[in-house]
Amino acid sequence: MIAATMLLFKSHRRPGIRGWELKNRLGKNYMRVVDALNSRLKPLGLEIKTVFEEGEENNLDKARFYVTLSHPLTMSDLVTAGWRIDEVAALAITLSTLSSRGGKASVKDVLEILETKFPRWKAEAYLEKAIRRGYIEKIEEETLAIGWRTRVEIDQKTLLKAILEHQESVGEKGTSKT
């Protein structure tokens, strides 16, 4: 109960909770409680994700714990949740571009690709929104980087693979037509 409340309710500016916070409330065997809760959440389509700090890959106390969906959303889920297709597409383009370039890219380069799909003002607005939500961050005046939320919510390798695979299937279709 305590663990579920701590993990599900947002108590800081960012969602999720640190390992040491769980330890303070649940005791030093807090990982057992987390595992038990995880097995209860799984049938509901949820799971607990542990994200380690950079350079602290084995330090559970400093890691952050989040509850995320355990299965992919469908297009209709997306619309029901209030997301706009355009907005998600812009986010996908931005994150794929950043991931394929080692996590960083200039605003100019990202906007250049976004502008092939959206007018500039819209592309800029979507970037701003993604920054506010924590998907990307502006590290310099002209440089974008992967944000904290992307590290939690998105499997970047799967994303790039899906982009390539999807394109390949489109290419195959095209070949068969000709």
Binding site: L46, Y66, A89, L91, A92, G102, K104, I139
Partner: protein, 255 residues
Amino acid sequence: MMRKLTLSKDELERIIQICENIEKRGLNPFTVSVKSILENLRKLLEENPSLDHYILDAETMYRIATIIALQHKWLEEKAKALFIDAQMISTRLVAMDKKSIVQAFLKAWRPIISLEQMTTQRLRQGLDHFLSLPPRKGEREYGWKITEKELEMIKAKLKLEEKALIERLKELHQELIKEAGDRGEVDYWKFVIRESFHETFERAYLLSFLITEGYVDVRKNPLKDEIKLIPHEEKLKRRSPKSLVITIGGDRAER
């Protein structure tokens, strides 16, 4: 010789700049040939063995070391990303329609589930935010947090205002003495009322300070409905001070 020295310095600064750009903008670190830079660096150092050059040389070496570390990281990232070329991704993103991009994205996206609720911390944050808000219409009201710097500025401004007020009081006192002349008294309303209400109000307000301080006495005659001002050169000590309320406004305040 001097020109050669400047040229080599410029060259070193250029190398530092290139390395910095790669580091900050996340560009491909393999665009720089570390080997040729190092050869160049050795040549420049042999030609100019001065302290300035040693310092710049150390800075350049540090930057090159960073580039090597970035190259290592870059390779690691590439390996993790299954050697997917950035250009290839860009080309495919441009070719795909929005819906297909979203479908691909959904395969990799597991959004965080969290609930918003009011906590004591949130309430504290809200209160802090409220207290830090500036007042509307530029007025200073209760609850506005004043910074140290602002406090200093206010103190300085108040000092200036106080000085101006003392000057104005002195002027008014002298004017009153002059107007009283040999009679030794002046009619309150004659002295206070001026063309604009603003000026009248200001004179009445300043006069109240002179009266309170003991530079001016007030004599009221209820039968004649007169109020007389009796100015003194020096400050007088009051034995039993009394309050007198004078209302300013209406027909009387305007000429």
